[in-house]
């Protein structure tokens, strides 16, 4: 390793002066050191997605067949749903995002990995907290705060593990050899800095040391809104701004647009969750600020859309056809725009009076989680996993199946939940319609949701097949870092 360092040290003077060119040797060295921790978290992320979406399939079945698996305590809806949604969030979205942050920060900083053991210990800590926390939820120990259901010790361990990983990224930034701070890193570091802040604060005030009841609602709403905007949307934007130039060679269209999009996202993200409490027992200004922020989030969305639209126009068509990453990223961005439109609709008081407390709200969350975050994250996985393992994806048809089944699954799920939610909402507002009738109106849409979860899982099995084939190649080649 030291030899490699010295052999590449000749170019360090070039590295420090822009334009930066990293020696390819350094690049392979970065990958070589990252492969362990990154793949560890990637594995956590995929396993959690598999288990989480299987449980959500069960949950969606229980919504239409209440007698299904009846009488088994730990499989009751009230326990399964939090386990599933927390697995998708803290098992899939956050570790997956962290794996990306490690990989992208390593590459964009051009720094090799210091204190690797801290990172590996922290990922193991996170994984075990996740595992035992999920078990505790199944047994029935839940704080019953939405998205913060884990018992206090679990959330504390997750918090500590995240802080360790965050510190590690700061170490790597300290070592960076590039004077450039690329736009993807703005979003990555924002996400990295914001998560411990919001997760720590929300847990401190809602589960560790409970604040008075009237303040709990706004804090939970603030947490959800910030998590959605500054993790589940910030990371896809980082991926998009990295992958498009990287794969197609097209430059970022306008830096002013990136800047406007970034600053306005930061400014409005934290407030946006409060509109979920429209009409609730909170001071009027809170929900009004939430409404305004949600609608003003149109600006960062528009800035991103303009930039990406112009960039995609410059990409030549064959690249777009051949690159699974670009296709996944493009789909993720389309879902991002759709999600923004639906959340603006959800924030308009008149529409909120109909749509709140129906499947629409939950569908919106799945759209961000599976559509915006999920698609771009999978796109990034198609890019960085082969480069880390130095192996190929062994089947392009599996990639096709994965892509289309996921797209169809998400579109079906979101249409079923938003349209079903609309019908539910209209029915709830009519006092002449009984609750039994409302449930029977929603039933066909909930059956469609069951089908959608099935399709999503089927698509994911094709991805699992690709990963297993890759693992087989690893065993054949005796590569030490197993996936």
């Amino acid at each position: 390793m030291n030899d490699e360092m010295t052999s590449s040290s000749l170019t360090f003077s070039q590295i420090l002066s822009a334009p930066v060119q990293f020696p390819s040797l350094l690049r392979s060295q970065i990958d070589h050191e990252l492969v362990g921790p990154v793949l560890l978290f990637v594995r956590t992320s995929f396993l959690s997605f598999l288990v989480g979406s299987l449980l959500l399939l069960l949950c969606s079945l229980k919504l239409v067949l209440p007698s299904f698996l009846d009488g088994v305590n730990f499989l009751s809806y009230g326990r399964l749903f939090p386990v599933a949604i927390d697995l998708l969030l803290y098992g899939w979205a956050i570790p997956g995002g962290l794996a990306l942050i490690f990989w992208l920060t390593g590459h964009l900083s051009g720094a090799t990995l210091p204190y690797k053991r801290v990172l590996i210990a922290a990922t193991h800590l996170w994984n075990s907290a996740l595992f035992f926390g999920s078990l505790a939820l199944l047994i029935g120990y839940s704080t019953s705060v939405p998205l913060l259901e884990y018992p206090t010790w679990t959330s504390f361990l997750l918090f500590v593990a995240f802080l360790l990983m965050g510190l590690w990224v700061i170490f790597i930034l300290k070592e960076r050899r590039s004077s450039l701070f690329y736009v993807s890193q703005w979003y990555l570091l924002t996400a990295l800095a914001v998560f411990p802040w919001i997760y720590g604060t929300a847990n401190m005030l809602l589960t560790w040391e409970k604040i008075q009841g009237s303040a709990q609602g706004p804090i939970q709403a603030w947490y959800t809104g910030s998590l959605i905007q500054l993790w589940l949307i910030a990371l896809p934007l980082a991926i998009t701004y990295y992958m498009i130039p990287k794969i197609s060679g097209v430059k970022i269209y306008s830096y002013y647009l990136v800047l406007v999009g970034f600053i306005s996202l930061l400014f409005f993200a934290g407030w946006s969750g409060l509109s979920a409490l429209l009409g609730g027992p909170i001071p009027a200004w809170m929900s009004s600020v939430g409404v305004v922020s949600n609608i003003l989030l149109f600006l960062p969305m528009m800035a991103v859309v303009l930039n990406i639209y112009h960039m995609f126009q410059e990409i030549d068509k064959t690249t777009l056809h051949q690159s699974p990453t670009l296709r996944f990223v493009a789909a993720g961005m389309i879902f991002y725009v759709l999600g923004s439109a639906l959340s603006i609709l959800h924030a308009i008081p008149f529409a909120n009076a109909i749509l709140n407390f129906t499947d629409y709200t939950r569908g919106l969350f799945f759209l961000v989680l599976l559509g915006s975050f999920g698609m771009t994250f999978l796109g990034a996985c198609y890019y960085f996993i082969p480069r880390l393992t130095e192996l190929h994806w062994s089947s392009s048809s599996s990639i096709q199946y994965h892509f289309w089944l996921t797209i169809i699954g998400i579109v079906l799920l979101i249409s079923a939940m938003t349209l079903g939610g609309l019908i539910e909402g209209v029915a709830w507002n009519d006092p002449a319609i009984s609750i039994t009738n409302i449930i029977s109106y929603a039933a066909p849409f909930r059956w469609l949701a069951v089908l959608a979860w099935g399709l999503l899982l089927l698509g994911f099995f094709f991805f699992v097949r690709l990963l297993l084939l890759m693992r087989w190649q690893m065993i054949e080649k005796r590569v030490p870092n197993s996936l």
């Binding site: 647009l257 027992p281 303009l306 051949q322 190929h392």
Partner: protein, 252 residues
């Protein structure tokens, strides 16, 4: 892979069942000018900004649109923030004072308060239409009790709400025999509000009652545990709420 050296992302593809001829994926085969992003590095070079995208201006329509959105946001917050006070839970009940946080809240509209009380309490018997239920609950529309006609005064109406009614009564010439619950736990403002509301809704047009008048009647009526009967009320002399007797109505 060789034929298309520009396409790095598709490089790790293999067709199904096609034996992989090139297992190695040497990262240094990547085009270095495209790696670690540093096609963007040129952007840092101010001298070359003319040929790159660093200083590309924002589209004018986006700037205009954001101005319009910000203006709308200001208006919206002005109307629906309740002056950013922590004790305002429903911005519809509070007129925007236009001042800062120190400005006093404008007094809420009596009819708005009254409508809320009516829909929470009175609507159960007297119905949304104010017509009551024939033979069971007397109507409020055109009722001499509500409009203070004949021997009925505004004081009777207030006393009625404060301590309730029982026994046979006559309303618009029809006999009723039912009980009305006492509502003396309501505030003066709420009682004045709901009475003002029923006196000006459904075509009724009697003057508003003020909270001060309600307070005066409440103070002058001894506390009782029994509801009123019609003869008891009839024995009490008629009083009318006048601006002189109770101060000007606070309603806008």
């Amino acid at each position: 892979m060789e034929q298309n050296p520009n396409n790095h992302d598709s490089a790790p593809f293999q067709r199904d069942h096609e034996p992989s001829s090139d297992h190695s994926y040497p990262p240094d085969q990547l085009d270095p000018s495209r790696d670690l992003l540093e096609l963007e590095a040129g952007n840092n070079d101010v001298q070359s900004h003319e040929k790159n995208n660093l200083l590309r201006p924002l589209p004018l329509w986006l700037v205009t649109l954001s101005m319009i959105l910000f203006f709308w946001a200001g208006l919206y917050l002005a109307y629906y923030s309740g002056g950013f006070r922590s004790n305002v839970y429903n911005a519809d009940l509070v007129a925007w004072s236009g001042g800062g946080a120190s400005a006093a809240a404008a007094p809420p509209d009596l009819r708005t308060i009254g409508k809320k009380v009516y829909t929470q309490i009175c609507i159960i018997c007297h119905q949304e239409t104010g017509l009551g239920v024939p033979g069971q609950y007397p109507p409020l529309v055109g009722s001499e009790w509500v409009l203070s006609q004949g021997w009925h005064g505004d004081n009777h109406l207030v006393k009625n709400v404060l301590y309730g009614m029982q026994g046979p009564v006559t309303v618009k010439g029809m006999p009723y025999n039912n009980a009305m619950a006492p509502w003396n736990q309501l505030t003066d403002e709420q009682i004045a509000g709901v009475l003002t509301y029923i006196r000006s809704e459904w075509g009724n047009s009697a003057p508003a009652l003020t909270p001060e008048f309600v307070a005066k009647i409440r103070a002058s009526t001894p506390v009782r545990s029994e509801a009123w009967t019609m003869p008891e009320l009839q024995a009490i002399p008629r009083e009318v709420c006048t601006p002189a007797a109770g101060g000007a109505p606070a309603a806008k």
